[in-house]
Symmetry: C2
Subunit: 429 residues, 2 copies
Amino acid sequence: MKTFIYPDKNTWAFLSTRPNQNQENLENKVTEIFKEIQQKGDAALLKYTLLFDHVNLTTFAVNQNEIENSCSVVSENLKDAIGLAKANIEKFHRSQRQIKEPVETSKGVVCWREDRPIETIGVYIPGGTAPLFSTVLMLGIPARIAGCKEIVLCTPPNKNGEIDPVILYTAQLIGITSIHKIGGIQAIGALTLGTESIQKVDKIFGPGNQYVTAAKQMAQKLGTAIDLPAGPSELLIIVDEFSVPEFIAADLLSQAEHGDDSQVVLVSDTEAVIKAVQIALENQVKNLPRKQIALAALKNSKLILLKDLDTCIEFSNFYAPEHLILAIENSDRLIAKISNAGSVFLGKYSCESAGDYASGTNHTLPTNGYAKSYSGVSLDSFVKKITFQEITKEGLQVIGPAIELMAEAEKLIGHKNAVSIRLKTMSDV
Amino acid sequence: MKTFIYPDKNTWAFLSTRPNQNQENLENKVTEIFKEIQQKGDAALLKYTLLFDHVNLTTFAVNQNEIENSCSVVSENLKDAIGLAKANIEKFHRSQRQIKEPVETSKGVVCWREDRPIETIGVYIPGGTAPLFSTVLMLGIPARIAGCKEIVLCTPPNKNGEIDPVILYTAQLIGITSIHKIGGIQAIGALTLGTESIQKVDKIFGPGNQYVTAAKQMAQKLGTAIDLPAGPSELLIIVDEFSVPEFIAADLLSQAEHGDDSQVVLVSDTEAVIKAVQIALENQVKNLPRKQIALAALKNSKLILLKDLDTCIEFSNFYAPEHLILAIENSDRLIAKISNAGSVFLGKYSCESAGDYASGTNHTLPTNGYAKSYSGVSLDSFVKKITFQEITKEGLQVIGPAIELMAEAEKLIGHKNAVSIRLKTMSDV
């Protein structure tokens, strides 16, 4: 990690640069695979699953037997832990439901919004070394609360054609409606276009590698909504003289272990704490199973000394981190100054991994500076808010003349006529 | 308009096809112009304004003089009408503000969301034959309520280098922070990349032609958020025997006059009403100033007879219209069955043009079937919802062991350690 002592503001843009993402242009490859899925359906999916995942499947759907076996394999302890996380995630996301609140804007003119679930959604869960069942919770639970009718989960099979039992256990626990053994570009293609066995969805959620990201961009281009633009995970921590260096080092490593391209940033007004964190980092990283990944990520990472905590917040807003930990004394007093962040963790005991798993907040968050304009996934991500209006005869008499004048000024006489023809019947009587 | 009598369900996909959008690939052109803006800034903007808008400007910014002149030119009647619309739009969008509601998910674990404005936004207002000042209201008002710091408006100048006075009047009325005479790809490029005189924004709002649409897609690809995927305007009306054919015809024409590619659809359980609407359409279109446009749009449009009102709603949900008018008796009873629509108008007097101008709802809505997965523009579009959590020592003791187990099952030991190191200090004492 590099340390920057009182860096000038004109270097902040440089200090906020994210590690280079692999910019290989995958658009042609994605176009080609999508086209083949469009033409050949399942046959194309089988072909690419053999090619990329090295498994010769006969069917993608996970059957009831596989699910039941999974449930018997997962330990009771882990089931309890997942149960606790589920309850908290449910509680927090249920609190996001909105009540219909009609507003009478003018006399006789009543407007309101009502939520409707997005009917069919896709949930992508990456494969790889670890089974990311926590993401099944984070996407499946709000989808269920929203009332989505179909929740289609896709995740790549291992070389034996299997899916990790904890993923299957979690998926059945929260009521995912169908589970398919398919990953990568071909999974996103199937969810976008639909095939014989995998249904086309209205919106696709979930993380993934560069292939999945490129495929989700194509899905969006073709009219299927996506959750968020993707990017590697990030954490910015603001510390002061009261912070515990060992806690901070553990938090930084928890994010650094995600991938070579993860970025962790430490910002402080106290040089001594920065140094103490560095020492703690060196001690802790030694024993980390994913040490090589964490060390690679730490290379991209920065320790920044700034003149006071207000400047630290200012830098954080400039950076717009996915995760922000305010590991400082009386962190509450800085809340109002936070303008750009995905999810914020306050105080000594709010470690970022709590939000990844079990506190109740969602862990699907904007990265790469997108926190300036995007919110993380919430119940809102699974619904549409439809506006309604009911205008009475009297209501139209109140606002009608204004509509006529405005439509005329915009030279849209058809718009004006729709009001005039109604008002005329009133004056006729 | 073509009439379809009791069409079979397997024809619904065909009946829901939107008119072909101009699919000319503009990506290369957009890439080229964006690159030039990136390299040459304002000089590139001036060049393209001369090339596309045929005006040789020296500066883009609208000055105070121009604004003051505009205010004196707009009639008092129109000012009053705009004032009424402004008050209603404010009232409805203010009601969308959310109050912070902390939830204690587990004992000692408190989570909540807080809204923060997107700091800088761009508002694009198209040029052309009509000054779309109503869109200035629809985008500027919620931006102001949200608290966006910078609201940058771009709109193309006419051949004299001027902007319509009603647009300027409306922009100053609601507190747009800067107004620039620039349109098309070059305007969206400037808002995406920033130049000497136009500031880079976090999110771009507003309608536009195929060039603007292609440029907004590029903006999104480069990391600037956009409001909605674009498409031509649409209206679906459901009528029954109680509907007034003349009102319905006027509503259909109000949408048909938008553009050749607008689409209007009439769905009913009563053949006689469909016929009566057709006659009324023929009568009314004759006198419409934008008759040619309306007639072209009507060519794409459909009259559909279905067996009952439930089937009409089912078709509407399948179609997912931008605007839906339920011009039927007791329309309220069908509300719960609506699952996909941008904005819904209930009853005899709720004409669609009310929502375009003055009832209070927003007129920036999902088209082209996007109502299945997107909401229209609302206060939400101008804010990010940041999640916060504060976990006490006791709180971490409650949820910590679950986090440790789950992190271990995902093979993310760094995530586990962040909890363990904290729990250890508690058991040590």
